[in-house]
């Protein structure tokens, strides 16, 4: 692929392409989790939701021939898993972190079970928009082949930012997350608000999964997601529950995740696995730098169990 003309420039270009391509699942999961956590509950099960979303999107796209129906199916599957999480969490004395872990295992297991017959066939993929048509450099053109879902995610981030600040729904979610007593005193059901917030969060995470199977890497297999879901949950924490910061953080993560394959393509193969672990190491490093034992994080919803 590299004809030598651009040499090591392949690496930054691939990282740029990766930042756009690989970041999309991170972006959707983190935006979804942002909504859920703002309502005062954490859903660690989004890793399972991501894998279920990827599987159902691929299956529906294969059966119907329409990748967009696949995306929708992934979203609905995610919302159902979100409803399951919220339903169990609304029982008394049930711990939301533990339920998340359970749904992570359940979602992955169910996806592997139902997805067994989908490993062989090829399903129609999502189309890409070519933003690099003006360039002669194939690597740059490859980097700028952008998927519509990425654009939707980019638009969604500022919309959510705005919605949290100004809309009725945004305020209700934040009230439930800051003080469930206040929300109850206003006559709203906290459980219902959290149910909806978790379902919307699951819907977005499911769509993030559909990107994995229908665009990049663009097939269904059991190694499709390795921790992207949980990384995205961690990402929300250091994005300070701010949808706009989630967008930047996701882009940084996508770039980090693309580093391993990019270096491999120019012949640096020695630390391949270590470079692949870059997003996890980056998450951990950022959490170490930004967290503090002495104070709660700024911007943290007061009802959230994980930050207390």
């Amino acid at each position: 692929m590299a004809d030598g003309s651009i040499g090591l420039w392949t690496v930054p270009l691939a990282v740029l392409g990766g930042a756009i391509r690989v970041s999309t699942p991170f972006l959707f999961v983190s935006l979804g989790e942002c909504i859920t956590e703002r309502s005062g509950r954490i859903n660690l099960g989004l890793e399972g939701t991501l894998v279920m979303g990827a599987m159902s999107a691929y299956g529906i796209s294969y059966l119907t021939g329409s990748p967009w129906l696949g995306v929708l199916a992934a979203g609905i599957t995610g919302a159902l898993l979100g409803a399951l999480h919220a339903g169990i969490c609304s029982l008394p004395r049930v711990n939301d972190v533990a339920v998340g872990i359970a749904l992570m295992l359940f979602g992955t297991g169910l996806a592997f079970y139902l997805g067994k017959p989908l490993i062989e066939p090829t399903a129609p993929r999502l189309p890409a928009i070519d933003f690099g048509w003006w360039s002669d450099i194939p690597q740059l053109r490859a980097a700028l082949r952008v998927n519509v879902l990425f654009l939707i995610g980019v638009v969604l981030a500022p919309i959510l930012y705005w919605a949290f600040r100004t809309t009725r729904w945004g305020l209700l979610i934040r009230t439930a997350g800051e003080s469930s007593d206040a929300a109850r005193a206003m006559g709203h059901s906290v459980l219902l608000i959290r149910l909806r917030a978790t379902m919307v969060g699951g819907f977005l995470a499911g769509i993030g999964g559909s990107f994995l199977s229908l665009f990049y890497p663009g097939s269904w297999n059991e190694g499709l997601s390795s921790g992207q879901g949980i990384t995205a949950v961690a990402l929300v924490i250091f994005a300070r529950w701010d949808p706009l910061l989630c967008l930047w953080a996701s882009l940084a993560f996508g770039g980090a995740a693309a580093l391993g394959p990019a270096l491999q393509s120019v012949g640096v193969t020695s630390g391949y696995h270590l470079f692949n672990a870059a997003p996890y190491i980056l998450t951990l490093a950022i959490m170490i730098v930004t967290c503090s034992p002495k104070r709660t994080l700024t911007g943290a919803p007061a009802e959230l169990s994980i930050t207390r």
């Binding site: 872990i101 295992l105 297991g109 390795s226 270590l274």
Partner: protein, 370 residues
């Protein structure tokens, strides 16, 4: 929600007050801890039966083959116990920190690091007497796994990093380190298709319990679980840990060294999972490669929750779940179910067990009169 987690962790120790020592009043709490998880398990099996029925299989066949594959013959018993051994150890990795109110889910990572450390020790000491090598492997495995989880505990204590997320991230980092080393500097050039380290040598394997095919790892697991039980419920250290888990502020006020408690407990927890890694190398695989990431660390989380974080209860629960995973092969061959069906069943059990937390203290006839 943290207080709720602490409630249940605390409740394990505190059995109902014995003002009027009627039977139910004395044992009602204990009966609850058997009855409710048992009912949750039964409910999960029924739902799983319905699930396979949707795929045109007979649920009665399913239960029959599950029983056959898990406990039906001496052969399946041995298979079950072999799988239970690492599960006991990885469950301790979740159950010990739970006494402090911490949710550690990174047992898989500590298992991999423990396996890697144990293998390194064995390869460095080639030519020494087997007993020396084996003891060194145990020490290396425990220290490797222990430090790995202690890292998560330390980050929580000194940097306020959430231990649930950091321990899970460490699983992926551990896997990357393992792959890096077995494909790089530790690779045996003879392992072509499946990059692996060199073998630790047949003489250094820990072998089977006489008269069985079950390896000594099961004994390691039993000893570790009993030791953990004594540590938590019958020592001052364990009492301090449970106090800190119930109310961290009270613990600080009475002058308990919370940092030391967290680091020690996390080291022991990781050490248990690291020992599981050592056992898998020294009794099953004979070398380190990616096969070790078989999910024992994740199933261990389920075992710990089903056992309500009680180290003694972990033993029967690990045997039960070892049985479920042992029956996977038979379900695949006889019913044509995919290998992931065991994962689905584990997920359903986990969901039911957590939902059943809502039932404690609510079953009328167990309350007695007070």
């Amino acid at each position: 929600m943290t207080s709720e987690a602490a409630d249940s962790a605390e409740a394990v120790g505190a059995v109902a007050p014995a003002a009027d020592p009627g039977f139910l009043q004395r044992y009602g709490g204990t009966i609850e801890y058997v009855l409710i998880p048992g009912a949750a398990l039964a409910g999960a099996l029924v739902v799983f039966g319905i699930f396979v029925m949707l795929f045109g299989k007979n649920p009665l066949d399913l239960y029959f083959y599950m029983y056959q594959g898990a406990f039906g013959t001496w052969f399946s018993w041995q298979n079950t116990l072999t799988r239970a051994a690492p599960l006991i150890l990885t469950a301790l990795c979740t159950a010990l920190p739970a006494q402090l109110g911490m949710v550690i889910i990174g047992g898989e990572g500590a298992l991999l690091i423990g396996a890697l450390s144990a293998t390194s020790a064995a390869l460095l000491l080639q030519g020494m007497p087997p007993l020396v090598v084996q003891v060194a492997m145990v020490v290396a495995g425990v220290i490797g796994g222990g430090l790995w989880i202690m890292l998560a505990g330390g980050l929580r204590q000194y940097r306020g990093v959430n231990e649930t997320i950091s321990s899970l991230l460490l699983v992926y980092i551990a896997l990357a380190i393992l792959n890096h080393l077995v494909e790089g500097m530790m690779r045996d050039p003879a392992s072509l298709n499946k990059p692996s380290t060199r073998e630790i040598g047949a003489a250094n394997m820990i072998g089977s319990i006489p008269g069985t095919d079950v390896h000594w790892g099961l004994v390691f697991g039993l000893i570790a679980a009993i030791a953990a039980y004594i540590l938590i419920y019958h020592t001052v250290f364990g009492f301090a840990a449970r106090v800190a888990g119930g109310n961290i502020r009270a613990a600080k006020i009475v002058g308990l060294g919370v940092s030391k408690l967290i680091l020690t407990i996390c080291f022991l927890a990781g050490g248990a999972a690291g020992l599981a890694g050592m056992v898998e190398v020294a009794a099953v695989q004979g070398r380190t490669n990616a096969n070790l990431a078989a999910g024992y660390g994740f199933t261990g989380i389920l075992v710990a929750f089903l056992a309500r974080q009680n180290p003694l209860a972990i033993i029967p629960v690990a045997i039960l779940l070892g049985g479920i995973s042992a029956s996977g092969g038979l379900l695949q061959r006889r019913l044509g179910l995919p290998d992931a069906s065991v994962l689905v069943l584990q997920g359903i059990i986990f969901v039911f067990v957590l939902a059943s937390d809502a039932l404690y203290g609510r079953i009328g006839f167990l309350k007695g009169k007070s």
